[in-house]
Structures are given as structure tokens and as C-alpha cells.
Symmetry: C2
Subunit: 443 residues, 2 copies
């Protein structure tokens, strides 16, 4: 008998859709914008905010009124915490009971048997606390740059945008005019937002336990260890490559002192993975650098965070499987654990669907906006699908059909291909186990 | 104790390397070429022939003498049958016995327990017989086009090149001047060469059994069924998409009648998967078409054939895993069989390494030849790694460093990432089985 009550993944899709439509309607109100705002641009902007991307076809500082800007921040905040809000909804449902709760927690990346309600409260408090701290730290520089009223609003907006990993540009030069300490605050907010809420909570309790000299600080899960390790490797490796590729290049790092070269390389690598703030003119970057950033965007952040991409854990499984095959091991090993066949299947699925989405998106953009550079179109497709939000200054020049492609890619990327399609999954176990095929050549 | 005798994969690498060096030296002989031939161009050409690619930085019809052209055909023939020759070598070793033979047969995609020596003899006879038939069928058209002497040579060359899936261009317009029947012969040769030697043998015996009304015609293996199915789907789907994208485009299909439109779409899709013959000016193709061809090249042909790419079986595993996850099955099922965890690991490895090679190759070409179009460079990298041999008329314009990148990519692609790295694999089983990790979010 088909079930008529929506499942968690369907709730997620419906929730995000409703939020996007509400956001679009809000942005189209006369109080929210100056002059005219086409509905496609409003839809793109609302999707971009809810999906925590940061792509926009209009200049948000000029087109949106202060009220519109705060509306945008609210959309980002809801989008960033959507998974949490959804999960609270499930706990609130109460009588749905164990099954729904277990499903929701699996999608949030929470281990079974954890204190669900307590975890969610702690994580929400942590998320809001971090953003409040970010706001206070950004306030002085922002007020000095923009005066008291605008400065306060900008400090709030940038704290929300950085933690939500949705870096809309408020200045013509991105955030390049901010002094180094504020850039470091933004970087920290981006990393904390993209690290995953459960990982964040675990790490916080682990560190508090160690600093408080607890005899047994809470153990870190495989998920958290892998996520933190890959995050560290990608940030460091990416920054070194970025610096090497652009060190002498005029218009990007070429004219800067070595301190600024390192700062901007680190900053761009950090935000490339999901946040979309620019301190450099992306139109000026060399093609190899764009390819490097596309690779970073494609990997993205940790599961259950505001970041997109195939996620660090998927990359870890890919690399671990490769290592296992090349060293002749019969199991995939990761962080002292054996990776189950189910996880291998999921990793294959994520990579396959991500490649199809990025390839299909690029193909679609080539058809709708064929006069643009192919590399720029591919960059835009990857940026949208991974909800990274970086752009080679292209979004505003796209046709309406091209903008619709981006809206679709962002939606698919944020709601997650997997959740999207899990929603239509018949909940049937396979009763018949087929004979195994081993004598078969792959590759 | 480390083993000092080379393993099958190492024999393969050494053999291909030796053949490439021998081929380069041969091409550099005064009898083999007219005027001057730079050693890098000779190296690229020899690698391209041995790896059955078809890329060349010089015009082989103008630069090579008839003797040089026959030398090129010999290199292709040896390259195409390298795996077979290698396997014969193993059987010849005799005393190495079961272990070496089992390893070699696994790399050839042959099931355990089959009659090894008999299979190899049959396959070799089949390969040479098909090429002889192709030569005879091509002869009339070639003689009419080029006269008796050159025409005979061209018929031989094109039969070898088509079956070996290494389509070097002998005319300025590719093979566009050939009449439709000859194009169909070339297509058939390309498909038969790229279908895999073992698949070819199985299919031939299966068909002979059915046509001979045998009561029990030899069963087709999973490998063969999957390979044939995916080959059919890719050819048909690719041809339809190709025709749709280029139907009206001037300079490609636009000026042709509908029969020729269909013929050329089918032909280009067939050769895109590995053979590298052009009947259209690739510089004139639309960006979406180039992307489509890159996708076809990336998948490539069947395992154990002259074709490159990740192979149809890998694609089948990717799609089957995706279907299993989306429909909530706990096993990956393919053609009525359960796919083992080992095969999932290998598929993940093949995809990971192929993405790294293609991405790294494109990045390297962007650094060596940054003034070229990014899409053309990516196309060239995919074409070289998948040993497809199509080019947006770019190979001749590359710098020496860029040509070296192509040589490396072709070598990696043909010898196979996996074989290359299996050669350095310590033959250790994992004695300790780690606890399984299931509570972990991927994607
Ligand atoms: K973002
Ligand atoms: K080829």
C-alpha cells in the first residue's frame, strides 16, 4: 500500500520550495527593492539565498532596500538551518515516533541512539552564538567603512552570510576593502558554518572536555574525524596551489605584498569550498586557477552543513577505495574502520549524479548562452550545483533560460540529489539475493 | 621477501615502453619520413600508434614515406594486439604456471578455468581475419580514389587503423571523401575492434551456435552481455543527440541531405568512442556537441579491447549502483547478478583515477599552452587519456611540453591506470578485518 504521508526527504523538498517561493514574493514587494526587479532575478536571488549559494544576477547592495537586505539575511538564516528546523519539526510531530525520527537523524548525519532533542537545541544555540560573536567582531570595521546605520546592518548581514556560506557581494570589489582582521573573522565563520552542525557540536564538546581536563573527553566519530582531516588538507593544499598559480599574475595576487598574497590565497581557498565571497576579480584569474577552484567547489564541505558539493566524506571514501585497490587490500579502510558496501554504493551514486548534474548543467548553459566562454559556463554550473556562489562575473549576463538552469542546479545541489530521489523511493528491501558476480572486468 | 621477477602488469608496461621507443627510432630513420621530423613529434606519433589513439602533430600522409606509413600500421597492429601478445608470452613461459596465467587472464577479462591457449589462438585468428576482410572491402573505393599502389596501401592502413581504433588522418578532410559503403565498413571495423577480444570471441561462438541451430549455444557471460548492451545504448543515444545538436549547423551537418546527416551522426558517434576518424571539421562543432563527445570518449569501449576510457562495464556499475541506492535496494544488481564489493571498489578507483588524470591533464595543458581555448585543451586531454584520437585541430599547435603531456596521458590511458599501479602493489591480503562503519554520511 503506498504511503500518503510525506517522508523526511519530501518534507525537506516541500519546505525548501515553499521558502523559495515566499522569498521570491518578499523580494518582489515594493518595500524590498529600488526601481524594477524582474521576477526571474528575484527567483534566482531567493533560491540562491535559501540554498546558501551567493550567486546573484543583480547587485544586492544597489537593488535591495535595507528591508530587502534583511529579508535576504532571513532567507539565508532559514536556509542554513533548514535541516535543523526540519528536524525540530519531526521531533515536534511527536506521535510519528521512532521511525520518522530515525530517518530524519540519518539524513542529518546523526548517529542512532543519540539524544536528539538535546543535540538540536545545543547545535542551534551554537549556530546562533557563533553568528552573534561574528557580528560583534565585524562591527567596528563595518561602522568605520559605512557609518553607524549601514555598518551595523552590514556587520549583521556579513556574519549571517559568512556562517551560512552564502557570500553575496555588497561592494563592487567583493570584500576586498575589508581589513585583514575582518577577513580572518569571515574565514572563521565560513569554516565553522561549512564544517557541519553535528561535527561542530562534537568538536566543541570534545575540546571543552579536553580543556576542562575531563578524564574521558567525548570521543570523536569517524564522520567528524574524516571531515576535519579532509577539511584541513583541502584548505592547506588548495591555498598553496592557489598561491603558486597566481603569485606573479597581474590583476590578482601580482601587485600584493607577500603577506597579502598569502592572506588572499588562504581566503579564496576557504571561501571557494562553499562561501562565494570574492576578494579578487574572478574574471582575471588564470584558467588553471579556475579549474582548481572548480575542483574545490566540486568536493565542497562536510555533510550536514551549509556547504554543498559531493562532501569531504565522499572524497575520503573515493580516495580510500583507490588506495585499497592499488595496495591490494580486500576492504576499504578509513580512519580505522571498514567502509560498508552500502557506503560504497552511496559514494558511487553521489559521484555519478554530481557528474551528471554538472555535465548536464554545463551542456544546458552552452545551449542557452552559447556565446559565453565554455570555461566560464562550466564554472557557473559547478558553482550553482555545489551552491558555492563564486562567479566569473557571468550570472548577470545570462539569459532567462540560463538563470532558470542555475535555479534548478542550486535546488538540486542543496536539497541534495540523494534526498530528492530518496523521496520517491519505494521502501522495499530486496528479498531475493542474487548470485554474486566477481569474474568481471571493470576499467 | 620482495619478488624480483616482473608481474604481468609490469611486463605490459615494459613491453609498451619498448614498443614506443622502437617505434620512435623507426619513424626517425631517413627512409621513414620526408624532410625533417622532430623527435617530439615522432615520439607523439609512435605513442599514439602503440596506444591506438590516432592523435598526431604532423600530417602522416605528407610527412611519412610509404615505408613509414607501413611502420605506423605495424605499431598499431602490435599495440592493438599487445594484450594478446603479452598473454601468449605468458603461456610460452610455461613453467611460470598457474599463478602467472591466472593473473594474466584476469587482466585480459577472461574467466578462470577457460582454455587459455585455444582462446588466444581463436581470438588472434578472428582479429586478423576481420582486418583482412576489411582490407578487401575497402580496396575498390581506395583504388578508385588514389590509384592502384597508394590505394592498396591506404586500404590496408585504414583496415588496420579502424580495427585498431587508431584513426590517423590521411586526407585534409579526414575520411569525409570516402563513399557511404566504405564509411560503413570503417564503422563495422571500429565497433568490432572496440568491442573487446574476449567479447568478440564469445559473441562469434554464440551466434555460430544459434545459426547452426545448436541445442545449447555457448552462454554469454555477464561481461559480454553488459558490454554489448551499453555499446548499443551509447551508439544509438549518442547518434540521436549528435544529430539533434548539429542538424542545422552550417559547416558540419547543416548542408547535408537527411541521409548523410544520419550517416555522419552515426559515424561520428561510433568513432568518438575510441577510433578518432573525422568526417567533419571538429573546429566547427558547437560547444555542447564537443561536451557530448567528451562524455562518449570518457566512457570509451569495452574492457580488453583496443578502446580506452573508463569502459562500458564501469559505466554499467555506476548506473546500477545509482539505481540500487535510489530504489532502496541493499545490493547492486546487474544483468541478474549481484555486483561484489570488490567490483564496487574497482569502479570507484577507475572513476577517481580517470577524473584525476583528465583533470590533471587539462590543468597541465592549461599551464603549457595557456593561449588555447580551455574547452579545446580539455577535449585534447580527454581524447589522449581515453586514447580516442579526436582533436579540435589542436595537436600540431601545442608546445613541446604540451605534446609531452599528451604522450604521458596516452601511456597512462592505454596501459591502464590500474595495471600501471597494480605493478607496484605488494601482494598482501589484509589479515585483520576492521570493524564496519555504517553510521556515516556520504554526500
Ligand atoms: K555558498
Ligand atoms: K583511438
Amino acid at each position: 500500500m503506498p504511503r500518503l504521508t510525506p517522508r523526511p526527504a519530501q518534507w525537506l523538498i516541500l519546505g525548501v520550495l515553499a521558502l523559495v517561493l515566499l522569498g521570491t514574493l518578499g523580494l518582489l514587494q515594493p518595500a524590498a527593492h529600488r526601481g524594477t526587479l524582474a521576477w526571474m532575478d528575484a527567483l534566482l536571488l531567493a533560491t540562491s539565498a535559501v540554498c546558501t549559494t551567493g550567486l546573484s544576477s543583480v547587485n544586492v547592495a544597489e537593488v535591495l532596500t535595507p528591508a530587502g537586505q534583511l529579508w535576504l539575511a532571513a532567507l539565508i538564516e532559514f536556509g542554513a538551518l533548514a535541516l535543523l528546523v526540519l528536524a525540530f519539526g519531526f521531533v515536534g510531530l511527536g506521535r510519528r515516533g521512532v521511525v520518522a525520527r530515525t530517518r530524519a537523524s540519518r539524513e542529518l548525519g546523526i548517529g542512532a541512539g543519540q539524544d536528539f532533542r538535546g543535540l538540536l537545541r545545543r547545535v542551534l544555540a551554537l549556530a546562533l552564538g557563533i553568528q552573534l560573536l561574528g557580528f560583534l567582531l565585524l562591527l567596528p570595521d563595518m561602522v568605520e567603512l559605512e557609518g553607524a546605520a549601514t555598518g551595523t546592518r552590514y556587520a549583521l548581514l556579513h556574519s549571517v552570510m559568512a556562517f551560512g556560506n552564502a557570500g553575496f557581494g555588497f561592494w563592487s570589489d567583493g570584500v576586498a576593502r575589508l581589513p585583514a582582521p575582518s577577513l580572518l573573522v569571515l574565514m572563521a565563520l565560513v569554516v565553522l558554518g561549512g564544517i557541519g552542525f553535528v561535527t561542530l557540536d562534537e568538536t566543541e564538546r570534545h575540546l571543552r572536555g579536553r580543556w576542562g581536563r575531563a578524564i574521558r573527553p567525548p570521543r570523536l566519530s569517524t564522520q567528524t574525524k574524516v571531515g576535519l582531516n579532509i577539511t584541513g588538507i583541502l584548505l592547506l593544499g588548495g591555498a598553496i596551489l592557489f598561491a603558486a598559480l597566481e603569485w606573479q599574475r597581474p590583476g590578482t595576487l601580482g601587485e600584493l605584498g607577500w603577506r597579502d598574497k598569502l592572506l588572499h590565497a588562504a581566503f579564496q581557498t576557504t571561501v571557494a569550498r562553499s562561501a562565494g565571497f570574492a576578494t579578487l576579480d574572478y574574471g582575471q584569474l588564470a584558467a588553471p586557477t579556475l579549474l582548481l577552484i572548480m575542483a574545490l567547489m566540486f568536493v565542497g564541505g562536510n555533510s550536514g552543513s551549509t556547504a554543498g558539493g559531493i562532501k569531504t566524506t565522499t572524497l575520503a571514501v573515493l580516495l580510500a577505495a583507490t588506495r585499497a585497490v592499488l595496495t591490494g587490500l580486500s576492504d576499504v579502510e578509513l580512519s580505522g574502520r571498514r567502509v560498508s558496501g552500502t557506503l560504497l554504493m552511496r559514494a558511487l551514486t553521489v559521484v555519478t549524479l554530481a557528474l551528471l548534474a554538472v555535465g548536464g548543467g554545463t551542456l544546458a548553459l552552452m545551449l542557452t548562452d552559447g556565446e559565453q566562454r565554455s570555461l566560464a559556463l562550466a564554472f557557473e554550473a559547478v558553482s550553482a550545483f555545489t551552491t558555492s556562489g563564486l562567479s566569473v562575473n557571468l550570472t548577470g549576463q545570462l539569459s532567462d533560460a540560463g538563470k532558470a538552469v542555475l535555479v534548478l542546479l542550486m535546488f538540486l545541489g542543496r536539497v541534495g540529489f540523494l534526498s530528492l530521489l530518496l523521496a520517491f523511493r519505494p521502501a522495499q528491501p530486496s528479498y531475493v539475493r542474487l548470485p554474486e558476480e566477481k569474474e568481471f572486468t571493470v576499467g
